[in-house]
Amino acid sequence: MRAAACLVLPVIFASVTAVAAQEEPNRPSSGYDPMRRSLSPSLKEDGGAPPGNPDYGGLPDAAGAEETYYLCSACHSITMVTQQRLSDDRWDYLWDWMVEKQGMPQQDAETRETILDYLKTYFSSEDRG
């Protein structure tokens, strides 16, 4: 593998750790970033999702995680998925966009439903309360 020889690692990043350490945004202290208050609310909470499964890039461990991991990470990092908090309509739209514009192979109806249900459950901006 030609580029493997120079594949050291994606350096990861003091700032990530620093932000991750701010687990109590309601009680800011040194290092606090007030921009965090403005993040899309759903980006700041996990909505009671099951713990991440390291086999599947840390996706919440639930039905659909395996299918989602292998289909999505075939082309892009699974972090592209875990960053998102989208409406149900937007997930449907993105699926079609992936197929029509991004060359994702069409899946059978059952696989599509499994994966979209999973995405809409754990990476949603919908207010289901």
Binding site: P10, V11, K44, D55, G57, M80, Q83, Q107
Partner: protein
């Protein structure tokens, strides 16, 4: 869970090294690709054929693969290895590689390579990874009288060389603050930088080619590779109106900060179209197709780099025909010192500083507030070294007594347009968020 925490799965890779002969070691270094025997068995069980069926035929380089490590091989051209020279940046996405810079690391007037954000739509082409420009040509064709095929030497010798400090900002910078969420990389504030670029004016090259009266738009092409591995798929091809292309600050650049254009930023040649979303500034530039209509290349249509023609309520699904192209980026600013959350002394002045910029040119004024926007004071604002460079601003604020304070920063452009305190018009893909930047101060 925090959004940042799941970006690296809590790993500390600072000491990790990859053994190029051991694919499993590569797995370990890539946060999305944590290997373990179970996953391998899943892959082995599924088999290359099954994976191929699920993915269509897009498994490039499969001959090079040890069994069971398909995702590793697909990672090889992301450019992630080059991240070692980036300093303190935040990884949003490794494939394709997308990395932003925390605000306090953007304090330099000229953004150094180590702190320049990375926005990739595809994989880094092998020519860039190898830094090999042998035989590179830039073709200029379409609505021109004299189609050109220019070598790098032709460009360097045939036109006036110019060096300018120019802001590049991703159109989606600030996307993470839209609610409901907008799809794409969740940039916060740091998908922006102002390096110094050296090259020739795009307008000079178009002039030499001789624009026909039918020329209305440019269409840009590079040699980056789609993340699907499909070598025939155009990753991204955007363009700008001819009037914009003819502005003297639009460059075809071969150098950033006095060095050869780095692989991650478009080696050997790229466009720099300041004031427009960064996607107009094609990397790995091979062709400029002058069009007789608005360019219709990849990511010109649909919802990509487009805004709703009329304002919509947050979360609205907007039909594609009601979207229009995002062109001039809005006025914006950053507080780059001190770092947010600084501890300061009550009653003592605190020096605050940062940059301001606007897609339509110079910033007219800059203001800061220490009381959540109730009162404002004008900041000192330097003239830019050239149009479309960001401008240094400075202010002093004095927390009157012990407690929690926020500095809010607000730039105003030459038309009197100023940054809003909250996200401006929601749009499906989260572009153009120029809400004010804020930092915290703890006074004691």
């Amino acid at each position: 869970m925090t959004i940042r925490a799941n970006r690296n799965n809590g790993q500390d890779p600072a000491h990790a090294r990859t053994d190029p002969t051991d694919p499993a070691s590569i797995d370990r270094e890539l946060p999305d690709r944590i290997p373990d025997p179970d996953r391998r068995s899943v892959l082995k069980g599924a088999g290359l054929a099954a994976m191929g069926a699920a993915l269509g035929t897009a498994i490039p380089f499969h001959r090079n693969l040890p069994a069971g490590v398909i995702p590793v091989a697909l990672a090889q051209d992301t450019g992630a290895a080059l991240m070692k020279d980036k300093d303190g940046l935040t990884l949003l996405n490794e494939r394709p590689l997308n990395v932003e810079t925390p605000a306090h690391l953007l304090n330099d007037d000229i953004t150094p390579y180590s702190r320049m954000f990375i926005r990739s739509n595809g994989l880094i082409p092998q020519s860039a990874l190898d830094m090999d420009a042998t035989g590179w040509t830039l073709d200029v064709d379409g609505e021109v009288d004299n189609p050109l095929s220019l070598s790098l030497d032709d460009l360097k010798n045939g036109f006036e060389t110019v060096t300018l400090a120019l802001v590049l900002e991703c159109g989606g910078n600030g996307r993470a603050f839209f609610d409901p969420g907008a799809s794409g990389n969740q940039w916060t504030v740091g998908a922006v930088g102002c390096p110094e670029w050296t090259g020739v004016r795009l307008g000079d090259v178009l002039e030499k080619a001789g624009l026909k009266s039918s020329a209305v738009y440019t269409g840009h092409y590079g040699n980056d590779v789609d993340i699907s591995g499909d070598p025939d798929k155009v990753v991204i091809s955007r363009g700008v109106p001819i009037d914009k292309a003819m502005e003297p600050e639009c460059l075809i650049a071969w150098s950033m900060d006095g060095e050869e254009l780095p692989a991650l930023h478009g080696f050997p040649l790229r466009l720099v179209i300041p004031g427009y979303p960064g996607s107009a500034s094609q990397k790995f530039l091979t062709r400029i197709w002058v069009r007789d209509k608005v360019h219709d290349g990849a990511k010109m249509g649909g919802h990509s780099y487009r805004l709703p023609r009329n304002p919509v309520a947050p979360g609205t699904e907007v039909p594609e025909e009601d979207m229009e192209i995002l062109t001039i980026m809005p006025v914006k600013s950053l507080i780059t010192e001190p770092e947010t959350g600084a501890e300061v002394s009550a009653g003592q002045p605190v020096a605050i500083s940062g940059h301001a910029w606007a897609g339509n040119g110079d910033v007219q004024s800059m203001h800061v507030s220490l009381d959540f926007g109730q009162t404002w004071q004008e900041a000192e604002l330097d003239a830019p070294p050239n149009k479309y460079a960001w401008q240094r601003w400075r202010a002093e604020v004095t927390p009157p007594e012990a407690g929690y304070y926020e500095v809010w920063a607000r730039a105003t452009d030459r038309n009197g347009m100023m940054q809003p305190p909250v996200t401006p018009g929601w749009n499906p893909r989260g572009y153009g968020n120029n809400m004010m930047h804020r930092i915290a101060l703890f006074a004691s």
